[in-house]
Symmetry: C2
Subunit: 720 residues, 2 copies
């Protein structure tokens, strides 16, 4: 194997720092130089023999046009803070508490019919004749005293949210950028013309890097700095709405959406919550619209002999890589920001010719969480390595073609350890890529299906980066799965009802009662419970984590309690005795830190094995049920040791052995075996020297791994 591989690396260039750019391109073996949001490449860079990516955020940076045609800007529904009726008349200033640099009321004739007033105490819409808007406030008359009233209303969004983020986080002071809605014909004509022109004027560009398409994920700011973020969801569609979109919907679906379909009592449409049927319809319409418009852009780009890569972050809404319409767009590449293994798998599994990972940290002074990176107090090389530890194990499982960085290159000056770390990561990446090219790694014939509301559409991801969703247990499961030698698919409850469990060995349901990941009301359908019960009784296995299959109104809190032999007490078990138990030792070590201390679990059957308990309450259980098995974990918090436990639990559930894949004795060491190239790759996840025996099909050996080491060990090629 050639350890001096080069290429497959996208470097952010920086005008004014040409020498640095070219030096780091050499150091890191870059083959591509790109510009970044807010930067521009100089001819010294673009003419240095590298392929060039140019970043375009198609809907942004058209302030002159937006000011001329403010009606082409993007919109959103908002709901006022509730106002308590101390009298029979209530006055509400709708935008009170919202960030008026971001939002402007839309009380135009198209918008007003969508405004609504609600009595939130009674949960009733207030009839139109009881309220009026005078350009400043809504006056509601005939109120029920001491009830709370809200106004739902449309707004123009007058500051593109990524630009707003960079101003508020990275202290940008440039003009606030506006954003156009491609649904408006005037905007669309303008944008396509602009893109044609841009392509003509930028012959040096090889790849147009779309950042991204039209509609940003949702980010609603508050006026008060003590509540600056009122709502932020990487997966919701609130920023796609407009009277035009609502009209198009009514025409296509034959029923009208109202403000409340978006506002939902002020709770909005977080991806973590199960959607209404109307929301599903609406999302499908937006997805088709986005795909159609994106296809038109890609065609323009192709016409100019360039490739079109899309960045799956920022204004990505409607173009989910696992959605129905993604492959119809014709993108040449997909670029994904990655902190984590699950993001790597999300990118790697998309149907598109080129997959590229943008590594963190960004070359910005502070990170996404607001902590210092390339400034005093920051340790970018440590951050880079932390992220790499998550990514490398996923890379071992599924290939991606390229990696890269983003941001301001000059920030790396003074951080030589960071430069070295990236050099090392790039080298490891290239060796792993080469192994995949020679032949796939060995994997177990163990088919894991993760079932949740969204199924395939939200494969691997929940709603954004790990740190944005780390309260949700499923992201921890996904992160662990991303590096395991098993087949992983994401299926919906509808898929289960349509027979998808025929392709499953272990079914996982992991979430909180009522959320999209556990499933909420989906479990009110007895057919779903019956089908999973059948699956387990006939030999399949079920792993529930947290509050799996929870739903209101049943005789048990978890619909699958009878399968698990365990339920969670939501109060209904007051006065009921539970089965007592003696914990037993499972066939592997428990990573107790991974579990969540839950005081509510209780055995509902006498034949459950309790593998972990806290204060006499089960935290991890296993039960034989018919010909299959069912296990429950109180929680799951990702760590390498937790991933090792999950691997061993999947084996125990499926009844399989790990003979087809390499396994280390030490749970902090993971390994992959590439039979075609006869290479064993061992990852030391511990930051200490680790001595462990690794067994692989056909051999075993004791290894001593350096802290965090990635070891490439030649075993000799497999006999064909």
């Amino acid at each position: 194997m050639n350890s001096n591989l080069r290429g497959d690396f996208t470097l952010p260039g920086e005008a004014g720092h040409e020498a640095l750019t070219l030096r780091l391109a050499e150091t890191w073996g870059a083959d591509v130089i790109r510009d970044s949001d807010g930067t521009k490449l100089s001819p010294e860079i673009t003419q240095a023999g590298y392929r060039i990516y140019s970043t375009i955020c198609i809907i942004r940076e058209h302030n002159a046009f937006a000011e001329l045609h403010p009606e082409t800007q993007q919109q959103s529904f908002l709901c006022s803070d509730p106002v308590t009726a101390e009298e029979e008349t209530v006055r509400i200033h709708p935008l009170d508490g919202y960030y008026t640099e971001q939002f402007q009321l839309n009380d135009g004739p198209d918008a007003m019919p969508y405004w609504e007033v609600w009595d939130r105490t009674a949960g009733e819409r207030v009839s139109r004749e009881k309220w009026q808007w005078d350009g400043e406030k809504v006056t509601v008359t005939g109120c029920e005293k001491w009830h709370r009233y809200t106004v739902s209303f449309l707004t123009w969004r007058i500051w593109e949210e990524i630009n707003m983020y960079n101003h508020t986080t990275n202290h940008w002071t440039s003009e606030h950028l506006r954003q156009l809605d491609p649904r408006h014909p005037l905007a669309w004509d303008y944008l396509t013309g602009w893109l044609e022109n841009w392509c003509r004027e930028n012959p040096q560009t090889n790849v147009v890097r779309l950042t991204s398409l039209f509609y940003n994920f949702v980010w609603i700011f508050g006026e008060d700095p003590r509540r600056r973020t009122r709502f932020t969801d990487w997966g919701s569609y609130d920023f796609t709405v407009s009277p035009a979109a609502l009209k198009a919907f009514a025409e296509e679906y034959g029923y009208e959406l109202t403000a409340e379909d978006f506002i939902r009592q002020g709770k909005l449409q977080a991806t973590h919550r199960p959607p209404t049927p109307a929301k599903r319809d609406y999302m499908a319409m937006i997805q088709r619209f986005v795909a159609e418009k994106a296809r038109a852009l890609v065609e323009i780009i192709h016409r100019y002999g360039k490739q079109a890569y899309v960045f799956y972050d920022d204004s990505w809404v409607g173009m989910e890589p696992y959605g129905e319409y993604f492959s119809s767009v014709g993108f040449d590449g997909l670029i994904k920001c990655v902190f984590s293994g699950f993001e790597c798998r999300l990118c790697a599994g998309a149907k598109v010719p080129v997959h590229e990972l943008r590594f963190h940290p960004d070359l910005f002074p502070v990170g996404l969480g607001g902590l210092p990176t390339f400034m005093e107090g920051g340790h970018p090389e440590k951050d880079a390595m932390d992220y790499w530890l998550h990514v490398r194990r996923a890379l071992l499982r599924q290939p991606v073609e390229r990696i890269g960085l983003g941001g301001y290159l000059h920030l790396t000056e003074g951080y030589p350890a960071f430069v070295d770390t990236v050099t090392e990561m790039a080298g490891q990446f290239r060796r792993i890529k080469q192994l995949h090219q020679e032949g796939a790694p060995a994997a177990l014939p163990l088919r894991v299906c993760v079932a949740h509301t969204w199924g395939k559409l939200r494969s691997w991801t929940l709603s954004g980066h790990f740190h944005e969703t780390s309260d949700h247990v499923l992201i921890h499961i996904n992160e662990a799965l991303s590096g395991l030698p098993v087949d992983v698919r994401f299926i919906s409850f509808s898929d289960i009802l349509e027979g998808e469990l025929k392709n499953c060995d272990v079914l996982i349901n992991a979430g909180q009662a009522g959320d999209a990941w556990s499933g909420g009301d989906a479990w009110k359908n007895p057919a779903l419970t019956a089908e999973v019960t059948r699956f387990v009784h006939e030999g399949g296995s079920f792993l529930g984590v947290g509050e799996p299959s929870a739903r209101d109104g049943g005789d048990t809190f978890l619909a699958l309690a009878p399968v698990l032999g365990l339920d969670l007490d939501d109060g209904s078990y007051a006065c009921h005795g539970a089965w007592t138990f003696e914990p037993v030792q499972p066939p592997f070590a428990i990573c107790r830190e991974a579990l969540r201390k839950d005081g509510r679990a209780r055995l509902t059957a006498g034949d459950v094995q309790v593998w972990a308990a806290e204060d006499g309450i089960p935290q991890m259980t296993m039960r034989a049920c018919g010909k299959g098995r069912a296990a429950w974990l109180s929680g799951f918090s990702y760590s390498p040791a937790a991933a090792a436990m999950l691997m061993r639990l999947l084996l125990a559930l499926s009844g399989q052995t790990a003979e087809a894949v390499p396994m280390a004795d030490d749970p902090m060491v993971e390994a992959a075996w590439y039979p075609a190239s006869g290479t064993l790759v061992a990852l030391n996840n511990a930051d200490t020297d680790t001595e462990t025996e690794i067994r692989w099909p056909g051999g075993k050996e004791k290894f001593r791994l350096k802290p965090l080491e990635t070891l490439f060990f030649p075993l000799g090629r497999e006999e064909k």
Copy 2:
């Protein structure tokens, strides 16, 4: 004050231990000697000049009659464990898993029409033609595969539950006692005749101590020792049912009850859960029946010149002292088993001439919780003092007339420290009683209303002793309130709707979402939320503890979130930002141990004071709302320090000062002031010497209190 007061003390006598009995009667200053369950007094005792209580459990100890007339025995509905349909036919043995020494199937012609089969997966009753009973099993045909089926059925209860408890816990080996249902005319005639005869034959008895009336609280045993207690609820009515009762109900109310009204998906009717309207009707009918029959017994007892005291434990169901019909029975006294302050207040507040407390520990080898008392490993004097610390602070607030003990007196031999402790407790009790007789203690004009589903009916208690309900936050609040110098009443949500808040300064709602104490669906009525909102806006105060006013389907999880400025995240707030805050110091010390660490609280208003937080999550908050105030505690765990915090919180909420009552600087010291007798009583709740200043209306002084001391301190009588 006379510290050598005697009397007001009921001693359990024991045949065979006459000398001991008389000696302890002298030591403890007893004026009454009683027998106990399973004991009989000898003439040496009954003729020693003491008043005599005789214990009667009217429905028990009639085995010969019960065997002759088994149809007069008591009954109960049970629900089989669910059976999963692996085929289209399912066979269920209804009693599988139940303790067959307690239950016997009732498949008689009166009972069978009430049997039901349910598909619990679908939540549907199975039509009658699809199942049959062959005397051994129910066979259900045409099942949905992989659904779970249950049988609801009637049983005879063939072992009286207190007797069953004494056999299983105290290793009794005597004949299993049966119990009769007074609703059966044959049984009723027999029982009244038997009582007449008993009264005739027991002229020495002054007081018939009824233990208690007819229907025991519910105690359902399982066959497997690993699930011996399947269900036990001190407050539910499951043991009152029979086909005759169901028929009487249908006649009176004009609608039929079914098995499912009792079984409720197998969850039964725990008092901790809000009742259905049908359950309320049924309880009212049982209460009237119990009162009517009890009145007849009391009339017999009175006719023989005896008094009738009733023990409010064991077979008490339907005779709640705060129920509608209690005072109509004509009892001469109420005896209550007490571990705790709230039980003392429950007894003290009942409308009956004599209130008597039966102190713990019982003179049994083991306590109610199964731990040793009068046997190796037991420390009965320590137990007695622990309970006394709870009881004495409640006794300071409201008088009771008598105290006593129960059980086997010979067990006290070898425990002289216990004998001394009881002597000390009896002395303190008599001094406190005398203070009350001279005039009531000073109290604040602070009216606290505790609102829950049951209101007055379940004043002070939830469902049994403290240790049986200590998972429920309200019992901790009640225990704290039982010793505070405030006016406490228990009101229902209906009372609130009927205007009861006009008599309230601080309204408390403390419970878990969906339970009877928080209120569950009662909060779906917007009128309730509006009325409490009005109350607070107009100057009242609200204290929410745990999950107050929680209900499904609202725009907030807590209906009163807008008043509190705080809500709990049930998952609905995913992606929503909360108000940030800096904790502020309240005007008193926080007892952090009393709070429960809850990770779900989030501020929904910017004007909330956070008085305690953990990991950045509020645990105790205060908010001015209109002219009133609203506070929230994440939890409340009773301790003297917690009670001190609650007292100070009530002052902060009401805006009152504590000038009218004595207050100690040290929160471990409580004090009461009896103006009429000019006596200050100070309680040291600490088991260390405590020096503290106590201020009372008109003075202050530094005291040094011995560990756990009860100090009676003369201040001089108040000027009239």
